[in-house]
Amino acid sequence: MNLMTILLGLLFMLVFYFGIHLIVNRGKIKFNYLIITVLYSFMVGVPVAYFSYFPEKFNPILYIIYYAVVLLPLFSLEFYNCIRGRQSWVRFLMNFVGVMLILVSPFVEIPEKLYMIGAGLVFVTGFFIYLFRYPHLNPMWLEDAAYKAGRNVEKNCGYSSKPVIVSVPSRITSSSSIRGLYLLFKKKHAIVKISKDLHDKLGRPNMEQYTTELVKMIKEKTKVEKQISDTISKQGE
């Protein structure tokens, strides 16, 4: 394998990953988030791909240490969020099981290796479909929505560091955040926390109107959830 093949492989990974994010984020690409995501994905993807091509260079101890350092913070945070009831176990398990099956593949021989990679890819695909269904879980889409929601609301209003409660029910519990904004969807309502910096950047919007508008935008994108909200509101009437 020469240098050109490696570079082509990396280029293919880059284009493939860009394409996935373009679909998952519904065309809302923010390069600051994309660069971090791609770099992290390369840190995860390149070693396992390398050892799949060069199994004779595989060192299990270094491999385990490397992935423990790279993945432990991410999965610990996801696991903690699940335990605290801030996000669903489905999301965590699809991501965790998918990645683990792929990472364990260098430890086994063909054909088991192929089965594990295949099963892992099924789980990872499921995870990306989940992210597509709930776009607010993607920081790039959420940042775009956060700025759009601030356009048509009353400006130059007061700020509070206390989160705002929006009475909109959700089928699943989920949490997501970008710089200056934290969202937590619970069964009965949504909790939105805005930082002072973001509030100023948005032109000091009316917090009640802004959070309602943002949650409404998110709900319009999650079709299944919208149907449930409509059914509940009809029952209420």
Partner: protein
Amino acid sequence: MIDLIRVLGSEHVFGIIVYIKDNPDQNASVIANNLNIHPVTVQRVLETLAKYGFVRVAEKKGIGRPSRNFTYLGGKFTVDLDKLFSDYSLREKLIRESGNPDISFSFDVDKEIVNAVLIGGKKGEKIKLDSRTGRFLWMVPPPDSKGETIENISRVAGIPIIDAIRFCLEMQEFGVLEVMS
């Protein structure tokens, strides 16, 4: 006032008063042991009576935390029904946060309560809230919103309406929230 009325209506108040009349300068723990009542109940009753000047408190320093010793003083208590009922009429008033830039909050997103109100930043005054008032404040709408009635919030937060009104008036004095006219 309502806290005193509640304490005077409680089950153990007469036993506690008779005991400290006969045994002045005692702390809550000793009284609780002798009367076989929970120390927290004794402490609550005596602190409320002390707040209205019917009991004297003397702090005694020693090993560990200082001991608060209580002595019975007695006195008169007048109930201002007009004030009590005028406060109650506030239950239908709308409230919202005032948006005061000097006010910030310490809160728990998972429990959905406000733990404390910080006035004047981290080095300023800190008002710690109990779980009921913390839950109530958590549900107060943001600044410049339409607001929500005290009655509705108190119902959802599970706090008695009269306590909610007192709490709102207290928080309004601190500039945390505003009772809308």
